[in-house]
């Protein structure tokens, strides 16, 4: 999604107060943005805590800062700056985090982001975006840019199945109607899930904004869930702090009864070995056979 990100920000660069700060990343992708922003493109060096603090200071002066780095270097390294400097002040800093989930593949565990939106969901005022497809990025940047407060944008790799046209971007989207279990997918897992359930009767929804307090389930989803009474949540994120857990609590609070509930989550590194994003998804049961088996086990139509 980096190319789409660059295009969206180049489009936005005419805004005189927009400033882009990178933690020394973006080689081979963000040069067009650097060219158009000139001195408003700032390589803040390998110092993410400072980068986020500087961005908070700039936002308090009415500028529009966007920070960019690999996801864990943002939410884990600079967590206190995100909490204190950005969120407690409700400042409109947009934190761009590349490589959600196992996105950095064989680069290893330090580069993966398996607990980002769970951790960040605990913070006040922070709005989280997890675009599902490359086609969502422009709308995501526009939506995050329009907020009065802070945003975290988890970028991944869109995998919209060939020949498929995604519905227009929305925080919650029905990707496909169905008569079977309701499958909810967070962000880029939407593509592989659509492929995996091609011949299944499941109804598939994509969620691209969290937490539920800022992105509540729409009525159409609630109606589908009341009818199906079976829910499967697919996420490239650990179970703790996941959308699945939030939805389980939401079902209890709102009185939506379920006969079946299943969460498919990142399992970390069960074999202790490393590989591509597909390898890690497969180890976690987040590949096509794993998703298919979990949904089929909930019953067909």
């Amino acid at each position: 999604m980096r190319r789409q990100l660059c295009d969206a920000l180049v489009e936005r660069a005419a805004r005189p107060d927009l400033v882009f700060l990178t933690g020394d990343l973006g080689f081979g992708a963000l040069e067009p943005l650097r060219d158009v922003l000139d001195r408003r493109f700032i390589n803040a060096g390998i110092a993410e805590q400072n980068m986020v603090g500087v961005a908070a200071g700039m936002a308090s002066e009415g500028m529009e800062p966007w920070t960019y780095t690999i996801a864990p270097f943002c939410y884990a390294r600079a967590f206190e700056q995100i909490r204190n400097d950005v969120c407690l002040h409700a400042l409109p800093v947009r934190l761009l985090a590349n490589g959600g989930g196992y996105g950095y593949g064989v680069m290893g565990a330090t580069h993966h982001a398996l607990e980002d939106y769970g951790v960040l969901s605990t913070l006040p005022n922070l709005h989280l975006f997890i675009p599902a497809f490359d086609e969502d990025v422009a709308a995501t940047i526009a939506a995050a840019g329009a907020l009065p407060g802070p945003a975290y944008i988890r970028l991944g790799r869109g995998e919209l199945p060939a020949g498929t046209i995604a519905p227009a971007y929305a925080p919650w989207r029905r990707l496909r109607a169905g008569t079977g279990p309701v499958v909810v997918v967070v962000g880029p897992m939407a593509g592989p899930t659509l492929s995996a359930l091609e011949d299944d009767a499941a109804e598939i929804w994509a969620v691209c904004e969290l937490p539920l307090r800022v992105s509540p389930p729409p009525e159409a989803f609630v109606a589908a869930l009341r009818k199906s009474r079976r829910l499967c949540v697919v996420e490239e994120h650990v179970a703790q702090g996941s959308l699945g857990q939030s939805l389980a609590a939401w079902c209890l609070e709102t009185g939506v009864g379920l006969d079946g509930f299943r969460m498919l989550n990142a399992q970390g590194y069960p074999s202790g070995t490393y590989g591509s994003q597909a390898f890690h998804r497969q180890e976690s049961g987040l590949d096509a056979p794993g998703i298919r088996a979990a949904v089929q086990a909930m019953g067909a139509a």
Partner: protein, 284 residues
């Protein structure tokens, strides 16, 4: 302290302010500084809280900045948030926080917590308290002024122990590299930190020469000598400026001056009376 005594003091403080404790030439009058120091002691004593040592070491610099240096287009960031009391009283001395609000310091439902609040007090831009955040915030302010072609200068007050935080050094590298000539960082070099002297805990002494390796202008001053600080804070900068203020923890209160426990313990009634008398008899 009895509540009534507190009220008597507040009345005297207000009266003294009304009498014109400020100098006619715009400099910080010694009378106002004494008065404000007394208000700081009274506020802490009434609240029964400590952290007084690091408030008193930074107080003269904060008062000088707010009464002589800061113009409307300038900014101040208190990175050593545990000097919140000194900050509140300084703002009070400028008429930006009411006397009644100071009375709520550290109480239930107060806006004036032990560290500056992120929101709710218009004169305070940033909530701080976890060390190592202020210089980055200040750098963001200074860079914004440059990018927006606005005049203005940013002053950031740090503690000395705070330079053990890696993020402070990240911020210094950033400020120097981006030539933030409109940024002045002050270091309250009182040489005492949470559980020992800075020399014993994680020495960076001598701090000035350690930090001189960065591309910044280093100046030093006696942090309790207004004339010396004026000199060190004067303009003429071509690089970000770092002013090491040589200070005394608990300055002006003999019972706690230079003592470790001044970081934590409130003054006893006797110590408080002695301190107030030492300031010059106000309210004694």
């Amino acid at each position: 302290m009895a509540i009534r005594a507190q009220h008597v003091e507040n009345a005297e403080v207000r009266a003294a302010n009304a009498d014109g404790a400020r100098s006619a030439d715009g400099t910080l009058a010694s009378g106002l500084l004494r008065l404000a120091r007394w208000r700081l002691l009274a506020m802490h004593h009434a609240a029964g809280v400590g952290h007084l040592g690091g408030n008193l070491s930074a107080f003269d610099a904060m008062m000088l900045l707010h009464h002589e240096m800061l113009r409307p287009q300038d900014r101040f960031v208190l990175s050593k948030g545990h000097a919140a009391g000194a900050y509140y009283v300084t703002l009070w001395s400028r008429g930006l926080i009411t006397d009644a609000e100071l009375d709520s310091f550290h109480g239930e439902g107060t806006r004036l917590a032990g560290h500056p609040p992120a929101r709710g007090v218009p004169a305070i831009r940033f909530g701080t308290g976890s060390l190592g955040h202020g210089v980055s915030l200040a750098a963001g302010l200074a860079l914004s002024m440059q990018l927006q072609d606005r005049p203005g200068h940013v002053f950031c007050l740090t503690s000395d122990g705070e330079w053990q935080e890696g993020s402070t050094l990240e911020a210094l590298i950033f400020a120097a590299h981006n030539k933030l000539v409109n940024l002045t960082i002050l270091i309250d070099n009182n040489r005492l930190q949470g559980f020992g002297t800075t020399r014993d805990v994680a020495s960076m002494e001598p701090l000035a020469s350690k930090l001189a390796g960065f591309d910044v202008e280093i100046r030093e001053a006696d942090g309790h000598d207004l004339a010396d600080m004026r000199r060190a804070l004067s303009a003429g900068r071509e690089r970000p400026t770092l002013v090491v203020l040589h200070t005394v923890k608990g300055y002006g209160v003999p019972a706690i001056e230079g003592r470790m426990d001044s970081h934590y313990l409130p003054l006893t009634d006797d110590q408080y009376r002695e301190a107030v008398t030492g300031i010059g008899g106000l309210g004694a």
